[in-house]
Symmetry: C3
Subunit: 343 residues, 3 copies
């Protein structure tokens, strides 16, 4: 529970109404009751505001303010997130290495960390303060993990990889699996040992069942603040810059370098050995087959400006009738040509 | 082992031949021997029937019946499935919590359930009668799981999620990972806490390494009887209706609602915040970028009627020659125009 | 450490320079220091050779040889791989069944195998000499695993499946999950029991979170030497021939048969019940919707010769202007027709 004044201070908003109003929960606008705070970020839900029972509402200054307790802020969605985080945070104290966990003697696990049953932690591993390993997490030898990380159930970090602070691995995320490298050897393939590592910098989040392959030599690196959704594939020796967003089921093939502040839609792909600049947006299912300059919004396979792609896909559905029209044009032209030849 | 009469009764078929024939196995038509029952559902395999050594065959009434022991039924594939299930079922009795499993004291595990070694079950979890947790399954706190569920190795159910009866999770299925929600915060991103849950209703099946994200607020829900193949992504706050089929590697982005009796092909995608009606079929690799009305068969990106898509893709392969023809038309037209101007 | 002569002998190259040069590491050309060996396989990196500090370089005969210690060989990349493997190999002796592993009494685990803590091995399992099961691996009953296999953390092999020798499973690979088979049963679906198995032949590698479904009846088979990248889906009863390469996030639907020496790019798909010949290359995101003859290089959905696809996709981006041009042609043609009618 918190008082409205306290929540307003947290997000540096403008409070209207009763600063002592007691807030217990954050819920969506259609479900809010007395004791709840809700928010309006999508104008589509504006009509719901009228009958909303919430004790307070987070609003942007542009919205005509109703007769309610309000927190006015330029970014209601961000304020909602911060207030929700505040009301959720339960300050669990570290529980240390719990019975049923298997931790090598040479591992250095901070006493404020938590290692749940079913975890296996290898030789010479370092685990920082406040970090939690949920059940079934496996950490291979020589891994280092920073402070306040959350590794969910069955997440795996293979040998030698390094995680910064506040890194989150969703369940079954795989960090440091072998890169896919084989040298043709007559009719078959010879496996290239993958002896590099993966580095996840501070504040990186990796989704469930996403796979970040270790480098062949050197490192695969995901830079500070970048977030990957579920089932994403990152090939060996890839670098992804700061504050990127990669939506579910996308893939980046080996050795490609991506700049910062990029946003990639679902099922997108980037071929290997490419360079993508900063502030690049690639739409869902887009596919980069060549280098990409900074500051573009692109879609399609091959990539093209998003607006051009929208027009091209609309034309695509018209292709059969275009072919028909073309045949008719040819026929009419032939008729004219024949007519003129007769002259 | 069963007698043919018993199997015929099970599927309410029409028996021809020896009701006392002993049946030991169900196998495919090309491998059947004495003691086996087989089935013919694809007419392509009709020629194999002649030399088939099976002790009995399941057939539809349309097929010219050979001189064999037969079960005649309108749906041989369904009858095959029921007979196979019957002959397989081994009525294992629950083994309880086995040594090497780690179950919180506050968890209520029915005595007829089975919890294999390597499982970790959290606080206040409820597990119903006849349910099996294979090795390495992790159940977070406050989860409820119904009767006769099968959770295969390494399946994960995160905090607060609810599974109905007869739910099947294939290995490494992830239920309740965080939805992918971040609020832009200057140059970076602020994580939106994902405090909702996932509900899987009765008879739902989730494939290996498929990920069902928990809701930001409220719930993500997969309704009764819906089956998901492997490596499928379901975003936060999605709802999928009853009796849907989602083939491997498909994805549904956050907050989209899908009706009942839908069938989605492999690698299909549905963008976020959309509504899809009932009885919608989307072909493999199709992509919904807008709302979809009920009772349609669609393909492509953007979606279009499947037949139109087939024609459009055929035209697509002809695009380069269309461009060439268009250039020729332009040239001929210019010639004509010049000729007429001369006049 | 090794002497250069020893490494040259290993790859049957031609040594130039000092055979006694001591080599400690294999690194990439931009990071090489004294004591390192590096290689040049991509001519793009030729300029780096001049200032390279490596103690030796692996080169192909076509490259103008610098004044350095050299191993000259027709395939520098393969030589690099072999030398790296040699310098890496650490000949760990088997550690047997470690404390914290749970192995059924009826399982036969070779004494030179290693089973890490957190593994669960079922009844009647056979595990061959030199095979390693990393933490959290789950082996169901009646599985057989050959010699010198590597099963990484959380890999799962379900009941009855068979792995040959030197098979590698990356973390969370799933072998033998249920095939996706349901018989329509009124409005819902009846699950077809999947009672077949998966066979992985010698030298197969399966990537992280890749899923190989067990057959409904019979077997799903991946033949000798075939390598699958991460997040790949293989449906029930699929057969993949020898020495194939399937890049990340590709999928092969049920009952399709693929020949040998095929190479499939990322996010590729093959529909069900198809036959694909030998030596077929399918580009990234390609989709097979019909049978494919041997010895082709194909791309697109539907598949077409790769060069045709490149031209078609280039034309695709021009579609909107093609439509505009077509309208102009129509207009000009109408004008001409009108003009001639006036005559």
């Amino acid at each position: 529970m918190a008082k409205l004044q306290q929540l307003n201070d947290l997000v540096a908003g403008e409070l209207r109404g009763n600063p002592d109003e007691e807030i217990h929960r954050v819920v969506s606008i259609d479900q809010a009751q007395t004791g709840d705070i809700t928010f309006l970020s999508n104008p589509k839900y504006l009509p719901l505001l009228k009958n909303c029972q919430a004790s307070a509402v987070i609003l942007s200054p542009e919205v005509a303010a109703p007769e309610k307790n309000l927190i006015i802020t330029a970014n209601p969605y961000l304020a909602f997130a911060k207030i929700l985080t505040f009301l959720q945070s339960s300050k669990t104290t570290g529980q240390g290495i719990m019975p049923g966990a298997c931790v090598a003697e040479s591992a250095a696990v901070d006493e404020s960390a938590t290692v749940y049953p079913g975890c296996v932690v290898g030789e010479n591993v370092k685990i920082g303060a406040g970090t939690t390993l949920y059940p079934g997490v496996v950490i291979y030898d020589d891994v280092s993990i920073g402070r306040d990380c959350l590794l969910h159930a069955q997440a795996i970090v293979r040998e030698g990889c390094r995680l910064g602070n506040r890194v989150i691995l969703q369940p079954s995320a795989v960090i440091g699996s072998d890169g896919f490298g084989f040298a043709p050897d007559g009719s078959g393939y010879y496996k290239i040992p993958q002896v590099g590592i993966v580095v996840l910098e501070d504040d990186v989040e990796i989704g469930s069942c996403s796979c970040i392959d270790r480098a062949a030599l050197g490192e695969t690196r995901i830079r500070r603040g970048t977030k990957l959704d579920n089932l994403v594939q990152i090939g060996h020796n890839v670098e992804v810059g700061e504050d990127c967003i990669i939506v579910a089921q996308g893939g980046i093939a080996g050795s490609s370098k991506v700049g910062k502040h990029c946003t990639f839609g679902g099922q997108m792909a980037i071929a290997g050995h490419l360079t993508v600049g900063d502030n690049v947006m690639i739409g869902a299912r887009g596919g980069a087959t060549g280098n990409v300059e900074s500051n573009q919004i692109l879609s399609g396979l091959p990539l093209m400006p998003h607006k051009q792609w929208l027009r091209a896909t609309m034309s695509f559905t018209k292709l059969p009738e275009m072919r028909k029209e073309m045949k008719q044009l040819q026929k009419r032209l032939e008729d004219l040509e024949a007519l003129l030849q007769e002259d």
